[in-house]
């Protein structure tokens, strides 16, 4: 008879695997199968990798102004000069209406969310291609990359916000209670950038045409957004189409939250939320579908 070291008989070995020889430690099991095409969004995976998301965003922020002379002052200089140029040409020379607000304040209040959107959009569109080395060498949910790129834009926005606050003091504007809704509009601008960014970043992996499209696209987009002018100059019958641009809702929301003009729940706000939701949902789905092949094509 077979005996083990302690002299006792060996336990009978069943081959159905019901009695494991050694205790099973709970280990995570990963199953790798071919990409199913239109996969579920798996946002939980992104949550699992939130530390990586934070580190990637932190890296971008940290290296952003390395080896620059003005450093983070750039975040103020850019909107400042845009404001000056707009005020001179559109405010002073072209005499565009500014809803009865001082034109510099009127346009700066829109430039801030606009630049947040523009920067986040272009960063996230190029993010996957820029992270080629990561994509080819390490696994993580790829969605982390465009999201981190979008977060990066928040820092500039925060700094530029100080300029806006200073300008408000200069013109003697005291913020109303509406200001508590400001973060919602910041979030909306960021999500709007992300919703387009996920599409473009995934497309950019395959078609580098995107890189040339983005600056052009954002330029056109700015003219379709009430940054330099008031949306009141848009004819009433075109308003609904105009409102499909999520940034119209964001900019109007900013002016309402900070300067107390207009109302927050106009059609443009609904349009913005709805438009962003639809774009984002399908953008994420498309992204997930392409994700499995990023490493092969990038």
């Amino acid at each position: 008879m077979l005996v083990n070291r302690d002299g006792g008989p060996l336990p009978a070995v069943k081959d159905d695997g019901a009695t494991p020889v050694r205790p099973i430690t709970p280990r995570e099991v990963t199953v790798i199968v071919p990409s199913p095409g239109w996969a579920s969004l798996q946002l939980g995976q992104v949550w699992k990798y939130r530390e990586l998301l934070a580190f990637l965003a932190w890296r971008d922020i940290k290296v952003r102004y390395k080896q620059t002379y003005f450093g983070v002052a750039w975040a103020v200089l850019q909107p400042l000069f845009m404001m000056l140029v707009f005020s001179l040409f559109f405010g002073r020379f072209a005499k565009l209406p500014s809803d009865g607000l001082p034109y510099p304040l009127f346009t700066l209040c829109a430039l801030l969310p606009w630049q947040l959107f523009q920067y986040s959009l272009s960063q996230s569109s190029n993010s996957l291609v820029k992270s080629e080395s990561l994509i080819k060498k390490v696994y993580f949910p790829r969605l982390v990359i465009p999201i981190a790129a979008v977060i990066d834009g928040m820092v500039d926005f925060g700094v530029a916000l100080l300029l806006l606050i200073a300008m408000m003091f200069f013109y003697g504007f005291t913020p109303t209670l509406n200001i508590v809704f400001l973060p919602l509009f910041v979030l909306l601008a960021t999500l709007a950038a992300l919703s387009v960014g996920v599409w473009l970043s995934a497309l950019n992996v395959k078609y580098r045409d995107v890189r040339y499209t983005v600056p052009f696209l954002t330029q056109l987009w700015m003219f379709a957004t009430p940054v330099a002018y008031s949306s009141s100059i848009v004819p009433e019958k075109w308003r609904w189409a105009y409102g499909l641009n999520p940034m119209v809702g964001v900019v109007e929301g900013f002016r309402w939250a900070l300067l107390g003009r207009g109302s927050p729940l106009s059609t443009s706000t609904y349009g913005a939320v709805g438009g962003v939701a639809v774009l984002l949902f399908f953008g994420l789905a498309y992204f997930r579908r392409m994700e499995a092949h990023f490493a092969d094509v990038v």
């Binding site: 020889v21 280990r27 995570e28 199953v31 790798i32 890296r59 060498k137 395959k206 078609y207 499995a292």
Partner: protein, 417 residues
């Protein structure tokens, strides 16, 4: 089974030839839309084709193969960087994947920042990195420069830091691609030790390498890939020597039943590489003597027949030529009959790697070659890490055609003169 850590079940990965540019540019896509044509279906190939194997917990498996055999693709599928076209993989445990050291390192950031960044990218938790931080820095030997941007590091420091982070990754399954080729020799030894340490702690390691000596040293088992298929899977010594012989079709033992090399005076019956017990072997321990044995038949009397061997290494360099120098070999004419001659290559003489032997039988005065069989037999010399071979405790690559064990002595010179 509870102790299985990786099950790879008939996975395949198809790539399109010509890569992305061939028919995936926006313009040709639009063109296809207009013309309603599809991409040609046959311009694809299988980088992996029906690969199946499984690994037990704690196993260290080497993966070898020529360039383009599918090694890297396999690792990419296993590490989820790209998804397979078909098949299924089941992995039990946390996977750590080192396809490159220093992934995500940013030149503008300090060493400290990069340790955290790179660690997170490799899948470590922030708390884990904080716990191992001092260890990592000490391992990399960059304590003084840890707050300097890594763009000011020397390439050696950079690689050491990068590897140090990777070495402190503590996954249950470690997938490594050829990253041991970093740093100086002393640091390589440290890394090899660290890897052995990893497998000793019950972790599973998959190790892709072109460096056969380090595969045989680190991995008891090796999988040989060729054209996307598993060509061999077994003990490393056998698989590695099979791989190295691949182009030659030569083994440690060969016999000729018909068409024997030779002439009317003598012909060759058999040739083999034997160990000290006389058994033919493919893989020879560097610390043991290696015998080259031939059996030949003499059919005509009155000739002095001198066996001689020509040994070549993998690069085709002739390591040495050996001629039978015994008195009877050099001077006594042989009577008809079957003879067996063996020559012993001393222990601690050849370098690691494959040796291919040409075997000849000649008469020296005047010179007549009765047979000369090229690539007759081949064998592999395998070094060990036990410290008693000529490599001592050094574990890195060691060039050289031969690796003799020398007598070393150090005496203290007189101080005051």
């Amino acid at each position: 089974m509870s102790d299985t850590s990786i099950i790879v079940d008939t996975i395949g990965k198809r790539y399109r030839l010509g890569g992305a540019e061939a028919n995936d540019s926006l313009r040709s896509r639009l063109g296809q839309l207009v013309r309603r044509t599809k991409a040609k279906p046959d311009d694809s190939f299988w980088a992996l084709d029906e690969i199946s194997f499984s690994a037990k917990q704690g196993e260290t498996i080497g993966i070898i193969g020529r360039n383009g055999a599918g090694k890297s693709t396999l690792l990419k599928v296993l590490s989820r960087i790209t998804s397979p076209t078909r098949g299924r993989v089941e992995i039990h445990g946390r996977v750590g994947c080192l396809l490159e050291v220093g992934t995500g390192f940013h030149p503008e950031l300090s060493g400290r920042d990069n340790v955290f960044l790179n660690g997170t990218i490799l899948g470590m938790k922030r708390s884990e990195i904080r716990r191992h931080f001092d260890e990592i820095v000490a391992f990399a030997e960059v304590e003084k420069f840890i707050d300097t941007p890594v763009k000011h590091y020397s390439s050696g420091m950079y690689l050491r830091l990068a590897f140090a982070v990777a070495a402190h990754l503590q996954p249950e399954i470690l997938i490594v691609d050829e990253v041991l080729a970093v740093g100086d020799a002393r640091f390589q030894k440290k890394c090899l030790d660290k890897m052995e340490d990893v497998s000793r702690h019950g972790r599973t390691v998959l190790f892709v390498s072109h460096n056969m000596p380090s595969v045989t040293r680190l991995c008891p088992r090796t999988i040989l890939l060729d054209k996307g298929r598993v060509l061999a899977d077994g003990p490393s010594h056998d698989v590695v020597s099979a791989y190295l012989r691949g182009g030659l079709g030569t083994t440690a033992e060969r016999t000729w039943a018909t068409d024997r090399p030779g002439n009317e005076i003598a012909n060759l019956h058999a040739a083999r590489v034997v160990d000290e017990s006389g058994a033919p072997r493919d893989a020879m321990d560097i610390r043991k003597r290696i015998g080259i044995q031939i059996e030949y038949e003499v059919t005509k009397s009155g000739h002095v027949l001198v066996p001689n061997f020509h040994c070549f290494n993998e690069e085709g360099a002739c390591v040495f030529v050996a001629v039978d120098t015994s008195t009877e070999g050099q001077h006594c004419p042989k009577e008809p009959g079957i003879y067996s001659t063996v020559a012993w290559i001393p222990a601690n003489f050849l370098s690691e790697g494959t040796i291919v032997v040409n075997i000849a039988l000649s008469t020296m005065d005047p010179v007549v070659v009765h047979f000369h069989e090229r690539d007759a037999v081949a064998f592999q010399v395998v070094d060990s890490l036990t410290g008693d071979s000529a490599r001592g405790v050094y574990a890195g690559p060691m060039p050289g055609v031969v690796r003799p064990m020398l007598d070393w002595a150090t005496t203290r010179a007189v101080r005051d003169r």
